[in-house]
Amino acid sequence: MTDELEIVPKADHRVMGVDHAAFPTFDPAGTVRFYRDVLRFPVVHSICAAGWGPDKHPDFIHFFFDIGNDDRIAFFYYFGLKPYGDQTAPGDSWARLDHDTPQFFTNSRHLAIHVVDEEDLLEYRKRLDDSEWPVEMQVMHETIESIYTHDPNGYMIEITRALRPVTPQEDLDAAITIDALIDIAEGEDPSMDKLLERKAQLIVERAEAWERAQQHELAPEPVLVP
């Protein structure tokens, strides 16, 4: 039996991050200036193609910039294609929204790119501030610090660093929040108040299991006596 190879089952969570996030552009020159020249993200791939399928589209270029970690941001530039929608309305090259759309909603969809520390965050801040696209906002969130700007296509780009690693209790809190959210979102008039009330119930319900798990986790560790 000991000769048999141990078969390690594959993990349940198998995806490996972002291969690429793709967006249309009507300003390829500005896009290349922003990503390649200002942020200095290397161009790593490009494809020239045409619309051959039933959904005929113009000749186009699909080009990619490295955003680290072997992940990429990619753009489509379609020759001769004009932007859709009212170009004075809020939005970006992918879509224009109604004129009265508030800014928080327009900016809610965005790409956030990770850096390791404050030095690197400030380096990107400097690159952007020296360009046509200065940083619009620098924000310290609960556990991350971020800078934001809009690229030449109107897409909001965030560059962010973690202030500290995420702790196990935050994972538990996130799980409880989402369970509470599902419970109240399917009920009448979901509100923050209802969410926090439901969360309190789940916090009490799950506290014992958490404490037992913590004991279990700590048990095999040698006890340090000062």
Binding site: I47, C48, A49, A50, G51, W52, G53, P54, D59, F60
Partner: protein
């Protein structure tokens, strides 16, 4: 023969004339399927590393042109262009062309003569092979290394050392056969009579197979085999070596 013809796209070096001659000749003999041929050319006159690099840069344009023609299958017909760019390069090249096509909604299948040669050798169950190439020795050595990296042993090989690609298209069959006869074929499973789609060899394949008594393939017969397999047609073309008789109902013994 009332079926819609299968459109075959050929991406060829500009100085190549042989693949557009041999491929239609072979596939015209395939029972039950009609083929039409459409080619796009990449500028290349001398088979040198510099010109091969310049030629590969034209690949995207060729794919676009053949994509516009709505071909069903596309063959990147320059074996050395792929094999000299690095071991296993046909996979990347085929993937790159396939990505370009599928991104634009084309369902064309993608093949390369480099990949087809490997598939042909695998289909014959080859392990130990011998090879005739028209290339200069350094390029020929790269082709040999490439094939060995795909898991075959190249027992013996000849390089005819013709650099000018137009001249490669005029190499007489007798010279190719003479090179083949000079090979040590002891223990060899399969002879590749021409590892190049430009060196004329179609008429030599059956002759060589009869003379040497082992299966003989060329870059062209391997390409035809892969095209037939890819479109799901039966492989039953007599007189061009046993690879193209893979699906023949009665195999001549």
């Amino acid at each position: 023969m009332s079926k819609t013809p299968v459109r075959v796209g050929l991406i060829v070096p500009s100085s190549n004339v042989t693949v557009e001659t041999e491929m239609p000749r072979i596939l015209a003999r395939a029972p039950g399927t009609e083929f039409t041929f459409h080619s796009s050319r990449m500028r290349m006159k001398a088979v040198s590393p510099e010109q091969i690099r310049a030629m590969n840069a034209q690949r995207e344009r060729c794919v676009m042109e053949l994509g516009d023609a709505g071909v069903d299958v596309m063959l990147y017909a320059c074996l050395v262009a792929i094999m000299s760019t690095g071991l296993g390069a046909h996979r990347d090249a085929e993937m790159g062309v396939a990505e370009q096509l599928s991104l634009g909604g084309s369902e064309a299948k993608v093949l390369s003569s480099a990949g087809a040669l490997i598939s042909g050798l695998q289909a014959l169950g080859a392990r130990r092979i011998a090879l005739v190439t028209p290339y200069m020795r350094p390029l020929a050595q790269q082709v040999v290394d490439y094939i060995e990296a795909e898991g075959f042993e190249v027992a013996d090989w000849r390089a005819l050392e013709v650099a000018d690609n137009a001249e490669v298209g005029r190499i007489p069959g007798e010279r190719v056969m003479a090179a083949a006869r000079s090979l040590d074929l002891a223990g060899v499973d399969v002879l590749v009579i021409s590892a190049c789609v430009q060196m004329p060899s179609l008429d030599l394949v059956q002759t060589a197979e009869d003379e040497f008594g082992i299966p003989v393939i060329s870059a062209a017969t391997a390409g035809a085999y892969s095209i037939l397999r890819t479109i799901g047609a039966s492989v039953d073309i007599p007189g061009a070596g046993s690879l193209l008789l893979a699906d023949a109902s009665v195999v001549a013994s």
